[in-house]
């Protein structure tokens, strides 16, 4: 009898410990589920990916936008914010040594939903925050194709407004939300691109290549100032040389460029 009572007491203690342990496990799992990227996947997967329709909150509201600058040799691009997905890679620096930048559409902490400079225009992807440095960008550039007008803004302040030349009907300037990917000082400031040429994350819808390049849309000066204010380009946005010189001293990489009809 004594032995049986002792065994009962023993296994009651064990059972209590077991129940407590199971409770700890459940609590631990709940905490982990809240922290893990996989736990965010459901919500994140609802975000748009691929062709972007709506601009990033900062761009739409006039607040500063967020720019992600690569700080690793290869930035991994994910279709969903999950490490389980097989990533593609994006060079952290261009052949010219320019760091890759991404315009942040959604900041999810460890993950960023970003616009990426690749076809199709307006592509978005998920990247790891740990592979980039975030910068705040107060500037934005608005281009109206119908008005042939460019407006550069710093916060809510209009920095400058200028007429521009845009793409012809045969080689239209693509509409959408893009960003500046590079700034090239031209060896010949009196050439077709003027003194400076910005590369944008946009690509021509009709020219798959141009001059040895991938058909990338630029924002640059011009050697044909008389065409400013008309639809005359192959898709690029041409501004007066004095304007691009001024912009070159101010706009950061990653600055949003919103092109509307």
């Amino acid at each position: 009898m004594e032995g049986r009572r002792s065994r009962w007491a023993g296994f009651i203690v064990w059972a209590g410990l077991g129940a407590a342990a199971i409770a700890i496990v459940i609590a631990w799992v709940v905490v982990l589920a809240g922290r893990s990227p996989a736990g965010r996947e459901t919500a994140a997967a609802q975000g748009p990916s691929g062709a972007a329709a709506s601009p990033a909150p900062g761009i739409a509201s006039g607040r500063a936008s967020l720019v992600a600058v690569a700080r690793v040799p290869l930035v991994h691009l994910y279709q969903t914010p999950s490490l389980a997905a097989s990533p593609s890679v994006f060079q952290g620096r261009s052949a010219l040594g320019v760091p890759a930048v991404f315009l942040v559409k959604q900041d999810d902490g460890a993950w960023l939903d970003v616009y990426v400079a690749r076809r199709p225009d307006g592509s978005t992807t998920w990247i790891r925050s740990s592979e980039v440095t975030l910068q705040k960008d107060d500037y934005k550039v608005l281009v109206s194709l119908s008005l042939h007008r460019l407006t550069a803004m710093s916060g809510s302040r209009i920095l400058l407004r200028t007429p521009v030349a845009t793409g012809t009907a045969a080689t239209p300037t693509p509409v959408g939300t893009y960003f500046i990917t590079e700034l090239l000082r031209q060896p010949d400031p009196s050439g077709a691109y003027g003194p400076y040429a910005y590369g944008l994350s946009a690509f021509s819808n009709v020219l798959s290549s141009f001059g040895g390049g991938p058909g990338q849309i630029g924002l640059h000066g011009t050697d044909e100032p008389a065409l400013i204010g008309t639809a005359a380009s192959n898709g690029c946005i041409r501004v007066p040389n004095a304007v691009v010189e001024r912009l070159a001293g101010e706009l950061p990489l990653g600055t949003p460029v919103v092109i509307t009809r």
């Binding site: 065994r7 296994f11 064990w14 059972a15 077991g18 129940a19 407590a20 342990a21 199971i22 700890i24 496990v25 631990w28 799992v29 589920a33 922290r35 893990s36 720019v67 700080r71 690793v72 040799p73 290869l74 930035v75 991994h76 490490l83 040594g97 900041d107 902490g109 460890a110 790891r128 925050s129 740990s130 440095t133 975030l134 910068q135 705040k136 793409g167 080689t171 500046i180 700034l183 090239l184 000082r185 031209q186 060896p187 010949d188 691109y193 590369g199 021509s204 001059g211 040895g212 390049g213 990338q216 849309i217 630029g218 380009s233 192959n234 690029c236 070159a248 101010e250 706009l251 600055t255």
Partner: protein, 234 residues
């Protein structure tokens, strides 16, 4: 009665085992409880040190020295961070400034291993094979190869794919160099290792972050112009 008792004992033991698994920091799997060489209050342990070392080696920088961890506030996390695995990149949270590291490297069993790793990789120009071995060790240490372990522990469902990614990448890249640093950074990030570099730069200064809610970002500077002929569509 005997069968009943045995059943309860099995349940109780299972619970204790599960609790032990859950309460064990992920970085302690297969390790002997590192004591903070990597600056995460002991939670990073041996694996954290390995990741730290790998990250330094792959990224082209020097591997972190155990004795110098405490003097690198921008590369570390607060030693007061709960469990050492909270994600410093959570929205609205700035990376915390690292408190001085007080762990004695000489007393940390992980430090000699880190030193050995640094020495080894620095002597081998093409460190692919060595790094692959390290990834294997990491995988083994984390229990990734154990059947069903991922299902049993949710932490491993996070960690194992990354480790597999590294292993896979190392087999495909002959010159396993800086390209893989990003992956290792991911490991550091998931594990909460102090090897994780600052999420955003520059790191906020303590004086400007009295409440710990400093902006995560710095203003973007004007683009640096590179002299090169453009080939945009024009």
């Amino acid at each position: 009665m005997r069968r009943f008792r045995t059943c309860w004992q099995v349940i109780a033991l299972s619970g204790l085992f599960a609790a032990g698994m859950a309460a064990t920091p992920v970085v302690a799997f297969g390790s002997t409880a590192g004591s903070g060489c990597s600056g995460s209050a002991g939670s990073s342990g041996v694996v954290g040190s390995v990741v730290s070392s790998l990250n330094g080696l792959l990224g082209g920088g020097s591997a972190p020295s155990c004795s110098s961890q405490g003097s690198q506030p921008s590369q570390s996390r607060s030693s007061q961070e709960p469990s050492g695995r909270a994600d410093a990149t959570t929205a609205g949270q700035a990376p915390q400034t690292k408190a001085a590291q007080t762990a004695d490297p000489a007393a940390n069993p992980a430090c000699p291993a880190v030193s050995q790793l640094s020495s080894l990789a620095s002597q081998v120009p093409n460190a692919g094979a060595q790094l692959q071995g390290l990834a294997g060790q990491l995988s083994s240490g984390l229990g990734c190869s154990k059947a069903g372990s991922s299902a049993a522990n949710p932490v491993l469902t996070l960690v194992c794919p990354i480790v597999h990614q590294i292993s896979s990448a190392l087999t495909q890249v002959p010159q396993a160099g800086p390209q893989l640093s990003g992956l290792v950074t991911q490991i550091g990030s998931v594990l909460g290792c102090a090897a994780q570099q600052p999420h955003h730069s520059p790191a906020p200064s303590p004086s400007s972050t009295p409440s710990g809610s400093a902006p995560r970002t710095a203003p973007a500077p004007a683009a640096h112009a590179v002299t090169a002929p453009a080939n945009f569509t024009g």
